[in-house]
């Protein structure tokens, strides 16, 4: 009995030491998984509707070394009135962490770069609202648009699509420990990472491709169709933008899946564009936020904005010289 008490005492001491050590280490070293966990626990809250989680308004946090400020309306942008001011052309950039600008300063995200480009030497005032929320899939983005995004009265929707956007909504499985403990979150994340190394099923290529087959694909097509119907009903044009996976730029391993998505949007009368070729000839690590984080960095956001501006002008029939 005394021996068992000693072992339990040892476990408690070890957990306290591990928790303190990890907190100290990660206060000085940036690790993608731990930063994403921090984002989830400090800037988001669960909701009971289809969005599953939303940003906490008026909160800010330093993530991947970059300040992320959430405004009073729960978006990472300046304050906007829901009612669109007269004479403003408003674009709503809907998406996930790519659109949000994970690891990138607010003004250097592609929605804000587009805003600057549109307003440069132009008499027309354009607002590009960053409506990105990390970890959203297309279904959650549609729900967010219907619940809140539509209030901004957008003239155009820019829908950012990443390969994992077809992944069904996963309910947040955070319990007390994974919500509050660095140690628990760290061990859980390493478990997922190990699983993807040792099991072919969980390698990102295979894992993502599964969502584009059978019932999962059928479910995703319904979301695409619904998005198109809802925007058409409101007379809001939409541009669907495939944001490429930046892990391997030497070949487009998701070419088939991206084509299926673009085709589905096209069948619904929505223009779509894939930005994979915009990154051709570029070394992967030069466009990553960090060596353990393949989110687009400042350079990648610039590339995205440079390519998108032409597509948006085309869809709106705006000429380059239009003032």
């Amino acid at each position: 009995m005394k021996n068992i008490s000693l072992v339990i005492f040892g476990i408690i001491v070890a957990c306290i030491l591990a928790e303190s050590g990890l907190r100290f280490y990660f206060s000085r070293h940036i690790n993608y998984d731990m930063e994403m966990w921090k984002y989830a626990t400090t800037l988001k809250r669960p909701v009971s509707d289809k969005r599953v989680h939303v940003h906490l308004p008026n909160k800010s946090e330093l993530l991947m070394g970059v300040k992320v400020n959430i405004n009073s309306q729960g978006i990472r942008d300046h304050e906007y009135t829901y009612t669109k001011p007269k004479g403003i052309f408003r674009i709503l950039a809907i998406g996930d962490s790519f659109t949000l600008g994970w690891g990138v300063s607010e003004d250097l995200t592609f929605p804000k770069l587009l805003e600057q480009m549109f307003n440069q030497n132009s008499a027309r005032k354009t607002e590009v609202i960053n409506y990105g929320v990390g970890n959203y899939n297309t279904e959650q983005e549609l729900a967010a648009f219907l619940i809140d995004g539509v209030k901004y009265q957008p003239d155009l929707i820019l829908l950012g699509i990443y390969i994992n956007d077809a992944e069904p909504v996963q309910n947040n499985s955070q319990d007390f420990f994974t919500k509050h403990s660095y140690f628990a979150a760290f061990v859980a994340q390493r478990y997922f990472q190990l699983r993807s190394i040792f099991s072919a099923k969980y390698k990102y290529g295979q894992y993502y491709k599964l969502f584009y087959q059978g019932e999962l694909w059928d479910a995703y097509t319904k979301v695409i169709d619904d998005f198109a119907i809802q925007t058409k009903k409101r007379n809001i044009p939409m541009l669907a933008v495939i944001l490429p996976d930046l892990r391997d730029l030497s070949r487009n391993i998701f070419e088939v899946e991206n084509h299926k998505v673009l085709q589905r949007f096209s069948d619904n009368g929505v223009t779509g564009v894939s930005l994979f070729n915009a990154f051709s000839g570029i070394k992967e690590s030069t466009v990553w936020v960090a060596k353990d984080d393949p989110h687009p960095n400042v350079l990648a956001h610039k590339i995205i904005a440079d390519h998108l501006i032409t597509d948006i002008r085309n869809i709106l029939n705006w000429s380059r010289s239009e003032k």
Partner: protein, 55 residues
């Protein structure tokens, strides 16, 4: 190598038991686990999908 490691573990267990220092075993095991995972995290390739279940 395997034998010497087993021998070391048995010796350490005997030492911890006789000196009433059994609490050291979980401390060492858990801290070794954390250290291994930390090293692994540093060198792991970026092949895993973005993890959403925790976020």
């Amino acid at each position: 190598m395997k034998n010497s490691l087993t021998e070391f573990c048995i010796d350490f267990y005997s030492y911890a038991k006789s000196r009433k220092k059994l609490f050291l075993i979980p401390i060492i095991v858990i801290l070794l686990l954390v250290a291994t995972l930390m090293i692994f995290a540093e060198f792991a390739p970026v092949v895993s999908p973005f993890i959403y279940t925790l976020f």
